[in-house]
Amino acid sequence: MTNAKIIGSVLGLLFTVLGVWGGQRLIEQRSAGWFWKALTVLLLVGGSAAGFLISVPPLPIVNESIRNLFFHVPMWFSMIMVLMVSVWYSIQYLRNPSARLDILAHESAKTGIVLGLLGLATGSLWAKFTWGAWWTPDPRLNGAAVAMLIYGAYLVLRGSFRDDQQRARVSAIYNIFAFAAVVPLLFILPRLSGPSLHPGQTGNPGFSQYDLDDTMRKLFYPVVIGWILFAFWLTQVSSRFAFLQSKYDEN
């Protein structure tokens, strides 16, 4: 453990806590939120354009496909972030039940599923062009697929209740329980299980070894923030819709 690594971990932790706290504020925001939505659009559109245009280090095999870094990896980051928000809503629900918290947890989980599926799709595409197959039996890939199955099970569970309160409570419990299984799947097991084609397997920043002049890094971090904000925006819209729907159902 070098000093830089420790500082990196602490910063990562701070970023995560801040992300979950700030994400809840943004999702529940009543006002229009022009500023951060404009920032999201700017980061996403600008980041994607720049992702296609900037010069990248020429590498054998990977070639231009390294640009997928600006799409594939931020999707996973934002998925994890929004799923953590969902788990935090579930914890809050168990402490202090309300239909509102249940809807927020459900909608955040749904956003996480969408982003996870996007991440799988972009990853599969990347694998086809660099490893030669749409899918390989790589620990990280399988972990990601099983994580999606777990959240699929969450949706199935939600569908099998008639009573709203019962559904809210039991699915909150399963959400917390499932997240505890997702964490080892995505973060611990891939590191334990030997050699893998996937970058970032043994050390944290998978691409830093290629990124000699830090240009990619300068674009990567803003894009990650953009995707995370986008995930919160998506959740905000869908949960507002769900609130309206539940209000409509009541009347």
Binding site: L94, P139, G143, V146, A147, L149, I150, G152, A153, V156, L157, S160, F161, Q165, Q166, R169, V170, A172, I173, Y174, I176, F177, A178, A180, A181, P184, L185, I188, L189, L192, S193
Partner: protein
Amino acid sequence: MLREITTLLAKDFRLEWRQKSALGGLLLYVGSTVFVCFLSFSLRGGQPPAPAWNALLWVILLFAAINAVAKGFMQESPGQRLYYYTLVRPQAIILAKMLYNALLLMAVALLGLFLYTVFLGNPIQDAPLFVANLLLGAVGFATTLTLVSGIAAKAGGNGATLMAVLGFPVMVPMLLLLIKVSKNALDGLDRSVSDQSLLTLLALNMLVGALSYVLFPYLWRG
């Protein structure tokens, strides 16, 4: 607390003993699956190759575990649950249930392994490690599936199917580690190769047990 747990545990054992059909059904399930495997492999002359041997054993144990644990909460009526709720703490209920399921699954796993080696041969090179891993797996299945069966019982209706849907993906991290360690034991690799996986397995078990302990009271309250 300890007295509540022992009483509940004794109650579960007594119930199991009185309804021998359930226990017998479970044993028959394991026995017949093993026998079907034996018959299908005997078509091509005897023993399956070691990887297939390993995979089949864990599949059999997994399904046996789902069947064994599924009936735990489902056989209790809502009235019964309410009665327990007035008598004991929910923490005692989940701990007793996990302990009971762990003991049951350990017995089933050992019996399954015995039958399996009798019929399909014994390619294990490091038996102590294999058995230790098997028992750790039984405990892991019990801790994970107990809460899942409680959740599935709440949903009512198609309990067993729902339990498989909810339980399988959650068990995958544990299963991957178990299969890896048991492969190492089959091949007789040095113990140090499996150290890290065994430790992770233990940590996973404790994590899942602790989470069940914390979450179950909320499930029970309804």
